[in-house]
């Protein structure tokens, strides 16, 4: 009897521990996708009037003020695609920080987009109000990662930070130039569809990267509808001037090409 008990308990403990020890780790197993997906590759070129921007080079704005850019960073967010039935695919938690000191030609890979034909694409510059007032967020919104884009829980993130210097006929030498565009309400969306130049329907295919290329012309911040004179507006971080600059974004992002692989 004791022998049977011994054999039984030996087997039991050995088997259960081995099962526990050697069982397949389920954490890393990818669930079989119920929907086939592909990738959108968003290629952003940060430009100054059609040429890739070069930091610390002198440029002229529409008002003929000379300026140099030492820092240029901005958030791209709220990327979404619309299919022919009018249904949107919203990229979840899609916040991307573009830092021109890293590259003026940035590729954002957005995976897991359901395959299909899309007739409209949208993206925004900024951080929506739901995400703008907490400093404890992952990814590009993590202040430990993108430390100099977050101010406070009260004032939120800088949506676009352009820093540098400027010189005008009236200024004696170069003076500081700071455009920190922020504040809820200044998130600007851009829509591309059949009405946009260079549009062709976006075809997301399984295992393929569909490229959407856009240019971001920074110089547009300083003209249309409001012409900016740096003597008047040179250091902003909130208030009505932010609204003016954000409204000037209107012509800033242009679709240059869609490449369906």
């Amino acid at each position: 009897m004791t022998k049977v008990k011994y054999v039984f308990s030996a087997l039991f403990i050995a088997v259960s521990l081995i099962i526990y020890s050697c069982h397949k780790n389920k954490d890393n197993n990818v669930e079989p996708a119920s929907v086939k997906t592909g990738t959108l590759k968003l290629e952003l070129e940060s430009d100054m009037n059609g040429n890739k921007i070069v930091l610390n080079s002198a440029y002229l704005n529409e008002n003929q003020d000379t300026f140099k850019v030492s820092t240029l960073k901005y958030y791209i967010s709220n990327v979404r695609l619309k299919d022919a039935t009018g249904k949107y695919y919203n990229v979840p938690e899609g916040y991307y920080l573009i830092d021109v000191s890293v590259s003026n030609d940035t590729s954002i890979l957005i995976p897991n987009i359901p395959v299909g034909n899309y007739v409209q694409a949208e993206l925004a510059i900024g951080v929506d109000s739901a995400h703008n007032h907490t400093g404890t967020q992952p990814g590009a919104l993590d202040p430990t990662v993108a430390s100099d884009m977050f101010w406070s829980w009260l004032t939120g993130y800088k949506f676009l930070a352009l820093e540098g210097t400027y010189k005008t006929a009236n200024s004696n030498g170069f003076k500081p130039l700071v455009f920190h565009v922020a504040t809820d309400g200044n998130v600007k969306s851009f829509v591309f569809n059949a009405a946009s130049p260079n549009w062709t329907d976006i075809n997301i295919r399984e295992g393929k990267d569909t490229k959407v290329k856009v240019s971001v012309n920074i110089e547009e911040m300083f003209k249309t509808p409001t012409l900016i004179s740096f003597d008047q507006t040179n250091n902003i971080g909130g208030g009505p001037d932010c609204v003016v600059i954000a409204n000037n974004y209107a012509d800033m992002i242009k679709l240059t090409q869609i490449v369906n692989e």
Partner: protein, 440 residues
């Protein structure tokens, strides 16, 4: 979690204490650690608890599983251990790859670092997880004068707890009576910082910690000599054993232990923290006005007043971890970050310090030139060098239309300083878990 063996580094201990009948055995290699707590109940053995490491975190299973009758202990244990250690490594296992040059087998008791949620994510410290034993060793070393050439100074000599781990002198005096050229930095909430020293030359606290020991104007001792002295004490080898599993002391382990202790220096119990946690009454009206000024960029055309501090001293640690030329000099004697990066655009840039406990840490600036916060605010308010483009453009924000100086009123300056005082954490400077362990 799988208990696997690569045969090379698996250690198995069976410790049967005849009287208490407590059996603990470890199965561990570089990536895994497991500890079983087994006790005797009557004539049966019961597994009470299984502790194991998964994805670098400690997991615990409380079980109450009786198995062998005690008289059959020997044979099944041999079978069991043989079976466990012969399990093959699985391809899908969650591997934790130590990135440190000196991979250290996990040994200690995990240390639970408590910090407010609003501090956000810590900077990863790969290969050096906090343990109770490691933190204690680090605390001993932080206050250990044997780390200096003539046994008169420790880290704590210049990073004094009562001054929030800063020094009240502009330049600390080293063991040879010599002085450096920069003010000792206050230490708090370092687990959220990426670069260390005023010029950012260290990429981790581990890297930073060994600097002052060897610096001729500071503790002035070779690492070889420091290691030798510690190795020859009766105290330290067992502490290293408990923390890192070896009595053989080396520089890497010293730096890891000190870094572990410094990561526990969390300052989060100021009145500002009460305010941040939702208690509006924690700050007075003046302090709240100071807070508004602190976080606001001025817009003179709209009568929006601001001190623009949070452009650099952003929440919640009152630093954005960047390096800035704040325009305090038009001619530089100290190149700061430029000396490290060799980029002229980094000229005279210094680390933006956290303003936690700022009222406790005079003198101010990298060279300790200002004795009080009034002088600091007056500097930022009216004396920023406009020798553009060498200073950060953000220093040009102004409360005057067309101006380039901050131009706050004296009342506004006083309000900002009132707010800065709310960042003082008196519990932090009296917390005995941070103090010299030999004095308690």
């Amino acid at each position: 979690m799988k208990f696997v063996s690569n045969h090379r580094s698996t250690l198995i201990f069976i410790n049967v204490l005849q009287h208490s009948i407590l059996i603990i055995f470890f199965i561990t290699n570089l990536n895994y650690f497991a500890k079983f707590v087994i006790i005797r109940k009557g004539n049966q053995l019961v597994i009470l608890q299984i502790l194991y490491i998964k994805k670098n975190r400690l997991q615990m299973i409380n079980v109450n599983f009786s198995f062998f009758e005690i008289r059959f202990i020997k044979i099944p244990f041999i079978i069991l251990l043989f079976l466990i250690s012969s399990c093959k490594k699985h391809k899908n296992e969650d591997t934790v790859t130590p990135t440190s040059n000196t991979p250290v087998t996990y040994k200690g008791t995990p240390y639970n670092l408590q910090a407010p949620y609003y501090f956000g994510s810590q900077v990863a410290a790969p290969g050096n997880p906090l343990t109770v034993e490691g933190v204690y060793l680090g605390r001993m070393l932080f206050y250990e004068k044997k780390l200096s050439g003539n046994n008169t100074m420790s880290c704590g000599s210049c990073h004094k707890q009562k001054f929030a781990f800063a020094d009240s002198s502009a330049f600390s005096t080293g063991i040879d009576g010599l002085q450096g050229t920069r003010n000792a930095m206050a230490l708090s909430n370092l687990a959220w910082q990426k670069k260390f020293f005023w010029d950012g030359r260290a990429n981790s606290i581990e890297e930073q910690a060994l600097g002052p020991i060897q610096n001729p104007v500071e503790m002035h001792q070779t690492l070889t000599s420091a290691i030798q002295k510690l190795q020859n004490t009766p105290t330290y080898p067992p502490l290293f054993k408990a923390a890192f599993g070896t009595e053989v002391i080396d520089a890497t382990l010293i730096s890891m232990a000190i870094a572990q202790f410094e990561r526990t220096l969390i300052s989060s119990r100021s009145r500002y923290d009460q305010f941040r946690s939702g208690d509006q009454s924690a700050l007075t009206a003046q302090e709240q006005n100071g807070y508004l000024l602190f976080t606001t960029h001025p817009v003179p055309s709209s009568n929006i007043y601001g001190a623009n501090c949070s452009d650099c001293h952003s929440e919640d640690l009152q630093t954005n971890n960047t390096f800035q030329n704040n325009g305090i000099d038009s001619v530089f004697t100290d190149l700061g970050l430029e000396a490290i990066t060799k980029k002229s655009s980094d000229s005279a840039k210094f680390k933006v310090p956290s303003l936690r406990n700022i009222a406790l840490t005079p003198p101010y600036m990298h060279d300790g030139r200002f004795n009080n916060l009034q002088q600091v605010l007056q500097q930022y308010n009216a004396h920023v060098s406009t020798k553009a483009p060498l200073f950060s453009p953000i220093m040009g924000a102004s409360n005057t239309q067309g101006g380039f100086q901050l131009d706050l009123t004296q009342q506004q300056i006083d309000d900002v300083i009132a707010f800065l005082n709310t960042l003082t954490d008196t519990q932090f400077i009296t917390d005995t878990t941070f103090s010299d362990p030999n004095k308690h």
